[in-house]
Amino acid sequence: MTFTKSTASSLAVLLLSSSAVLAETQLTVYTSVEAVDLDRYKQTFEAANPDIKINWVRDSTGVMTAKLLAEKNNPQADVVWGIAATSLLLLKGEGMLEAYAPAGVEKLDPKFVDSDTPPSWVGMDAYVAALCYNTVEAEKLGLTPPKSWKDLTKPEYKGHVVMPNPNSSGTGFLDVSAWIQTFGEEDAWKFMDGLHENIAAYTHSGSKPCKMAAAGETVIGVSFEFPGAKAKSSGAPIDIIFPEEGSGWEAEATAIIAGTANLEAAKKLVDWSVTKEANEMYNAGYAVLAYPGIAKPVEHLPADIPTRMIKNDFEWAANNRAKILEEWQKRYDSKSEPKT
């Protein structure tokens, strides 16, 4: 008995010491970054931090937010890396985020950092609202390209515009909240009333309108710049248009989930996520970075995107989200029949 006990304890000691040699923290990281980028992000991070291993849990922003909120009382994630800042503000409101100022946060553009100190989230990059415009189909129909958001209400585009439904897509909400912030509440709803007359369909995902434009299923897709650049690279006949009133945008951000058992490793990841090196890594797909002055232009995208971004008040958007969505649903979702 004593023999087995002592063997067991010495075995345990052996195991402990050997694991100390291999000390490796596994971090469960929730993310919504593009599937193609996951391996690259993981490898680059793990090369810089060999003692930490990332286990990705990836899904679309809506699903990840729903999942995080559903797990509110029993969080499974250690860190979120690459989820929309607006979603993170919802989590912050539920007290789910651990405030932490990563080393080097002062170097980031302040609009990419949570307004409280210490910040609850720090940004990585931004995706910016844009129109995907199918030139081939437009020519067939004799349409002229729109220059501004307000152009989209012109009668010539009737039935040729597709946009994401803000009730199921973060991109859709970003558009609506940007219009309200730039046009003012009354004008924005008037604009959307006009836009609604031209909409062929509201989609559930933010990149789908652009891919529909790329496939000629619609002429104009209200979407964001990233899928547009991707579709153009694969040969789709589309132009990416940034409307002249300015574009709404959303930051992809990083945050620590409160109550994580791996706080030290989580902090290391967040520290690394704001470095210049990490931002250069984000640059492969994203033209706008949180780290100022290092962004290289992305193929098929203009270099001056940052100047086209509106001043986006995330806190306002998060606090008015429920009300805006309710109003939107009341105005446009009840008209269920497709247009003839």
């Binding site: 599937a35 193609v36 990705w56 849990v57 899904d59 679309s60 699903v63 937010t65 729903a66 909120l69 559903a70 797990e71 009382n73 029993n74 919802l90 912050k92 409101g93 007290g95 409280d116 609850s120 081939v136 439904n165 009730n167 199921s168 897509s169 369909a201 509201y202 989609t203 559930h204 995902s205 990149s207 789908k208 309108p209 652009c210 891919k211 529909m212 496939a215 000629g216 619609t218 899928p227 694969s234 040969g235 789709a236 006949p237 998060a318 606090n319 989200r321 429920a322 009300k323 969505l325 649903q329 009341k330 979702d333 009840s334 008209k335 269920s336 029949e337 497709p338 247009k339 003839t340």
Partner: protein
């Protein structure tokens, strides 16, 4: 002699069948499987029902404010938000009903508020549960917190959780939501009428004519079972979308919406309706037709007085199956429904799009109603069915009739063309590089690892899920059915078990999936550990498809004479020996059918698992949905075709395997 002895002797103990070890084991097993159904079905549903009455509202009596004068040193008397609101009427009662994410600006209670004024504000809760936000920083509690006016403008109040029927009131008060009830019922009814008519025509042609290629048509009609219900939606987009090949046929109408939903629904429900109706039609008594002929009834009259009444229970049953399938289906309206809202998609939109779990639960409860009604009516009708086929029945033999046979052939060919076109278009879409601008063929759409949705790993996960479901499910279902059918006594327990086993049929997959989130993703639940694993997907899928498998097993078991058990007992053989030596081999065809049924359905199901998969357990069928959702329609079609190849391959293997095994185990059936 026993009777006379009983007359003289004083009344003894009432006789009870003594329980031997076998009975105990059997009852134990039945209890275990009952518990399985209780925890995988009844308990989650109960938790979901209670979630639908969980509401959020702003309880203004929970918040107390104090305002200072301009110096910031003197404070007025504390007043609750309720009192302030009563005085100012700033927030109408309707705005106090809330969702879990609602916020109410604290400044709305102070008409003369200005963020530049030196006035200070204090806020506290009247209970520890009171919550508010400063900006997006959570706060709460019963101690006073002080804010300058510039900070105070950022203070928003949070709602409290309570119980009530307000969610249902809100649902029926929002036309955007309640409209879906009508839409869903309309779509399901239309599809039911069309599918039942088409399936009846098919079954009639195949059983009452001498047309050629019957085997081929039977095979083609079964194909839609092998693909997820989203696939016809994708094919219809390619056929009738704005770039569709046959767009002109719609005469300006859009395929996105009711037309697409009905056409797609007919496609994926056809095999189910066809199976049921063709079984009903195949049981026919030629003597009725002889009687009709001798009474000089016309063919038309014979059809309405003999054929249709003979198959009426089959037709009714098929209609209810189709109705339930369409109203609970989620994949098809998601892909092709456009702005036409349906109940099942609403659940998804509420939960995934808006994180409004309570409203999702409300829609789930509403979706349960038509499904349960359809199920109950169908059960009732089945009870009224009497045996049509008497021992003296003479099987009907169709006679040659070239015109009629040609007509039947044309009908079957038309339906087969429809089915093959849908599948063919998906195959084409999967191979074309960039529809419609680069129509060259290639395999780039099969590079799933470059898309959202989980890549190739999701395909292998689906195969794992299907295999696990087939093995585990078959064991559970068959054992359960055996215990119900072959146990003596314990009537109440058996009835309860049978009820539990029938229940999954009436529970839509979306509802089951949502109920699983509420039930299993609760840290207080000891079964919380299986959340996010393959195990919960297997449990969910087995439960979702339990009923049909259970009925198949029961039918097979009923064929075995009940005398086997007493004989085995009298020979002092334990029941497990009988079970493995006699019951299982005899029922092997049914067991194989159950496992293939579970396998195919586990490959194609979307609705139940869409809430439950995690990153490591992403599934091919969900990948089809997510890739289509992200606009990667061609890769979605490619993944759908992978599911089709797999199911078709497994079906063929199953047929070969059955032939070999059945030859060995079923030769006793041949005299």
């Amino acid at each position: 002699m026993a009777a006379s002895a009983a007359a003289v002797l004083p009344p003894g103990k009432t006789l009870r069948q003594s329980l031997d070890r076998d009975d105990l084991v059997k009852r134990g097993l039945m209890v275990v499987i009952s518990l399985y159904l209780l925890f995988s079905l009844a308990a989650p549903l109960y938790v979901m029902l209670s979630k639908s009455v969980s509401i959020y509202c702003f309880d203004l009596s929970q918040f107390e404010f104090q305002v200072s004068d301009e110096t910031g040193a003197n404070w007025n008397a504390p007043a609750t938000a309720q009192a302030l609101n009563a005085a100012t009427g700033a927030v109408p009662a309707a705005d106090l009903a809330a969702g879990s994410d609602s916020r109410l600006a604290a400044t709305s209670f102070f008409k003369d508020f200005s963020f530049r004024s030196p006035v200070k504000y204090r806020l506290r809760g009247t209970s520890e549960q009171t919550r508010w936000l400063v900006g997006s920083q959570p706060g709460g509690g019963i101690t006073w917190q002080e804010f300058d006016s510039n900070t105070f403008r950022r203070v928003t109040l949070r709602p409290m959780q309570a119980y009530g029927l307000d969610n249902f009131a809100a649902y029926f008060g929002t036309p955007a939501l309640s409209r879906s009830i009508w839409n869903s019922v309309l779509m399901a009814s239309l599809s039911t009428v069309i599918t039942t008519a088409v399936a009846f025509g098919l079954a009639y042609a195949l059983s009452r004519s001498l047309m050629p290629f019957k085997g081929f048509f039977r095979l083609v009609t079964a194909l839609p079972i092998l693909v997820p219900s989203l696939l016809p939606g994708i094919a219809l987009v390619y056929l009738f979308g704005n770039q569709g090949m046959l767009k002109g046929l719609l005469m300006g109408h859009s395929i996105y919406g009711p037309i697409g939903i009905v056409v797609g629904s007919v496609f994926f429900t056809l095999p189910h309706a066809f199976l049921i109706i063709s079984t009903a039609l195949s049981i026919s008594d030629a003597r009725h037709y002889e009687a009709a002929a001798s009474l000089r009834a016309s063919r038309w009259r014979t059809f309405w007085t003999v054929t249709v009444p003979g198959a009426r229970y089959g037709i009714i049953s098929a209609a209810f199956v189709v109705f339930t399938l369409v109203i609970t289906d989620f994949g098809l309206p998601k892909v092709i429904g456009g702005q036409y809202n349906m109940l099942a998609v609403d659940i998804y939109k509420q939960v995934i799009g808006q994180q409004n779990f309570e409203m999702g639960a409300v829609v789930s409860v509403i979706l349960l109603v038509p499904a349960v009604v359809a199920f109950a009516v169908d059960r009732l009708m089945q009870k009224r069915q009497v045996a049509l086929l008497s021992a003296r029945a003479v099987p009907y033999q169709p006679k040659k009739n070239p015109r009629f046979d040609a007509l039947c052939f044309a009908w079957c060919a038309l339906v087969a063309l429809f089915i093959l076109t849908i599948i063919g278009v998906c195959q084409l879409a999967a191979l074309v590089k960039l529809w419609p601008y680069d129509m060259s063929l290639g395999l780039n759409n099969f590079a799933f690892d470059r898309m959202d949705g989980g890549g190739w790993a999701s395909y292998w996960n689906s195969i794992r899920l299907a295999l696990l479901t087939a093995v585990f499910g078959t064991v559970v279902v068959f054992t359960g059915a055996y215990m119900v059918e072959k146990t003596d006594g314990f009537g109440a327990g058996r009835a309860a078990f049978h009820f539990l086993a029938m229940l999954p049929m009436a529970v839509p997959g979306m509802v089951l999936g949502l109920a699983y989130i509420f039930f299993f993703n609760n840290p207080a639940n000891p079964l919380n550990g299986i959340y996010g694993t393959m195990a919960i997907l297997v449990v969910c899928t087995v439960t979702h498809f339990y009923t049909v498998a259970h009925l198949t097993a029961l039918t097979a078991l009923k064929q075995i004479d009940r005398e086997f058990e007493p004989v085995a007992a009298s020979l002092k053989q334990p029941f497990h020996k009988l079970f493995f030596r006699v019951t299982v081999p005899v029922c092997l065809p049914a067991i194989l059918d159950i496992s293939i049924y579970l396998f195919v359905n586990a490959m194609t199901t979307v609705s139940a698992v869409v809430f439950l998969y995690s990153t490591h357990t992403q599934l091919a069928s969900v990948a089809v949905l997510n890739m289509d959702d992200a606009g990667d329609v061609a890769p979605a079609a490619a993944m759908g075709m992978m599911i089709f190849y797999t199911n078709a391959g497994v079906r063929i293997l199953h047929a070969l395997f059955s032939r070999v095994v059945l030859k060995r185990t079923q030769s006793w059936r041949i005299r």
